[in-house]
């Protein structure tokens, strides 16, 4: 029991279970899942589907934060890549053609690579502080997205594109498989090779890592590019979810949710060690919280306060120093020195 309690993910899991339980008590049918039109249907499925974009953005954010940086521009990149993809599709004579949808995705991803490289150059090469460097694109990027959509909402009618946001595979939302695939890819890339360790080393001390023979700049640059690509895929999901690109509101404030997910997941904002599993759990908690507000119909005037209280509780409960005050156990060093699973 004690070993379980000391596990890094124990408290986030507990919070998630508590939220779901509260919902189930409020309305027992909350957890009910039924088959409809050949796929699963229910509030829990909604949570899984809607959390996919946040998971993606938060995974990229985890790597950036691990290098000791932060990426505020992910929301704008979501909007830009979604806008580019939707704009391209809207210009095609046959919006349902798979080829043109794939081209649209390549365009969106290509642009995200450029934007990620821009962030990377500002931070890694020129040496601007990450919060300032990515703030530039956070602000300017919204303008760019609106430029692409000409200030309008672009509505498209493309079933292949729509699949990314609302389609199903093996009765489950398609989006979650995309998020899963990216997770597996990133986990393999960082944990099956030395890359993960190198990133943690750079985040711990970039200069020491450089002296030890690691090309710190290249690693930091790479983190921003990966983050931008993750954001672009999330942008596709967000726009596909409503079959329209809204440069003004797509992915608005998702960077803050992503940072929160990373922090709930146990990755330190100071950089260093990072935990994908914790980040995913963090993203699920945030989405569950949002859905809870709707499902319980908590009034909009108080919902922000409700969210804030839960988030503060999650953060406090995770802090060993805070818990020890109540349990009066001797603070152990164990909880901070666990081994790192993928």
């Amino acid at each position: 029991m004690s070993a379980l309690k000391n596990h890094r993910l124990f408290w986030p899991v507990l919070v998630l279970v508590a939220l779901l339980t509260a919902n189930a008590i409020y309305r027992p049918s909350f957890l009910a899942v039924q088959m409809r039109d050949g796929h699963l249907y229910g509030s829990v499925i909604d949570i899984v589907r809607l959390s996919a974009p946040l998971i993606l953005v938060a995974l990229g954010m985890t790597l950036v934060i691990a290098t000791g940086g932060i990426d505020l521009s992910v929301g704008s990149i979501c909007a830009i890549s979604g806008a580019v993809a939707c704009f391209y599709i809207s210009q095609q004579p046959d919006q349902n053609s798979l080829a043109s949808v794939l081209t649209a995705l390549v365009l969106g991803l290509g642009l995200a690579l450029v934007l990620g490289a821009w962030n990377g150059v500002l931070v890694a090469i020129i040496g601007i502080q990450p919060i300032i460097a990515t703030l530039i694109l956070m602000v300017a990027g919204r303008g760019l997205a609106q430029l692409i959509t000409e200030g309008q909402i672009i509505t498209i009618n493309s079933s292949p594109y729509k699949t990314i946001g609302v389609g199903h595979l093996l009765t489950l939302p398609f989006a979650i498989f995309v998020a899963l695939a990216v997770t597996v890819l990133l986990a393999a890339l960082t944990r099956r090779t030395a890359l993960g360790m190198i990133i943690e080393s750079v985040g711990g001390n970039a200069e020491a890592s450089r002296l030890a023979g690691i090309r710190s700049r290249r690693i930091i640059f790479l983190a921003y590019v990966i983050s931008a690509v993750c954001a672009a895929i999330a942008g596709f999901m967000l726009t596909a979810n409503v079959s329209s690109a809204d440069g003004n509101s797509a992915g608005l404030w998702i960077e803050l949710d992503a940072i929160l997910a990373v922090v709930i997941g146990g990755t330190s904002l100071a950089g260093g060690r990072f935990f994908f599993s914790g980040t995913i759990l963090g993203a699920l908690i945030i989405q569950t919280l949002t859905t809870t507000v709707y499902a319980m119909d908590i009034s909009p005037q108080t919902s922000l306060l409700f969210k804030a209280v839960v988030v503060i509780a999650v953060c406090l409960i995770q802090a060993p120093a805070f818990r020890d005050k109540f349990t009066r156990r001797k603070p152990t060093a164990v909880s901070q020195k666990e081994q790192v699973p993928a």
Partner: protein, 333 residues
């Protein structure tokens, strides 16, 4: 090489500065001439400061003002404030210096206008507010406020529903998608709707939640409403976009929008009108951005010294599916 470059830059700078001063001087002279004799060329000058270009609605609003000014033969000096009050104040001061005949603007926020409006008043330039109001205590600082009446839009939506459910015997369950929490359109539309449906005790709002005026928000909220409430008869959305998002949630839940669940929205943008014409929506109360022609009429009246009402409503209407079909081909936004 370096020194030549520097010298060149400095000479350039001087030249530019001189040119600016000259132009400014000339412009000032030119303006003071028209200021003294406004009927010189018979052309009115209107300085307009727009909030920004944040939505399709706003773009249509801007275009309407530009087109109407051209049609009315009024010279328009247009400024986009990009959502910043300081930009608007700067623009208004510029208009005062240029001695335009009338100043109009859509205030980005409600407060903090007294000083600059006083300056305009002292310079004898009448000010017209469009689309959004200011909270100044001194009502003489501006001539009139032209814009939509959000309460009325909510009321018209509610009245349609009351009329529609006259024959309903049981309770009619309504869910409401509110706009951005605390915004004037969200507050007022909610208020107007609630007042109108109070006429029939069978009409009951069973859930009301914000969808932030966005499609994604409307969809996410509606998905949960549908799961929490097995019997929903009517959806009232504070704008078309939330209604359009909710449409997808309703379809995914295996219900038929427009039939199983009646949908009432506000705005009447093109995508919303299309949904109405397709029978997916049932009723839209218009919130029109096309106040250009009315504004130009006002500019002329104000300049001629005629008294105008302190509050003028934008000419707006409501749409049923048949009316939407008829109006759609000529819809501008």
């Amino acid at each position: 090489m370096l020194t030549t470059g520097k010298a060149l830059t400095r000479r350039h700078a001087v030249a530019v500065l001189t040119a600016t001063l000259l132009t400014a001087g000339l412009a000032a002279c030119g303006n003071s001439d028209t200021g003294d004799k406004p009927a010189d060329d018979g052309k009115l000058t209107l300085g307009f400061s727009q909030v920004g270009a944040e939505s399709g609605w706003r773009t249509a609003n801007t275009n309407s003002i530009k087109e109407a000014a051209a049609a009315a033969g009024i010279e328009l000096k247009f400024d986009d404030a990009q959502q910043k009050q300081e930009n608007q104040i700067k623009a208004i001061r510029n208009y005062i210096q240029q001695k335009v005949d009338v100043i109009a603007f859509s205030p980005v926020v409600e407060s903090g206008w007294d000083t600059v409006l006083k300056e305009a008043k002292d310079a004898g330039i009448p000010v017209i507010l469009t689309d959004r109001a200011v909270d100044s205590q001194d009502k003489t600082l501006y001539k009139t406020f032209i814009g939509s009446d959000f309460v009325k839009e909510g009321k018209l939506s509610g009245e349609w529903l009351v009329n529609e459910s006259k024959s309903a015997t049981g309770t009619v369950n309504i869910v409401e998608l509110q706009g951005t929490t605390g915004s004037a359109p969200a507050n007022d539309r909610k208020k107007g709707f609630a007042a109108a449906i109070a006429a029939n005790p069978n009409l009951k709002v069973i859930a009301s939640q914000t969808g932030d005026f966005t499609r994604a928000g409307g969809k996410a909220v509606m998905e949960q409403f549908l799961k929490a409430h097995p019997k929903i008869d009517v959806l009232f959305a504070h704008n078309d976009d939330m209604g359009l998002g909710a449409l997808e949630a309703i379809t995914a839940a295996g219900k038929v929008p427009g039939k199983d669940i009646k949908i009432i929205t506000i705005d009447a943008v093109k995508d919303g009108m299309q949904a109405l014409a397709d029978g997916k929506f049932n009723f839209i109360a218009e919130c029109s951005p096309l106040l250009g022609p009315q504004l130009m009429e006002l500019v002329k009246k104000v300049k001629a010294g005629e008294t105008v009402p302190a509050r003028i409503e934008t000419q707006e209407t409501t749409f049923t599916p048949e009316q939407a079909k008829a109006a759609l081909p000529t819809r501008k936004y």
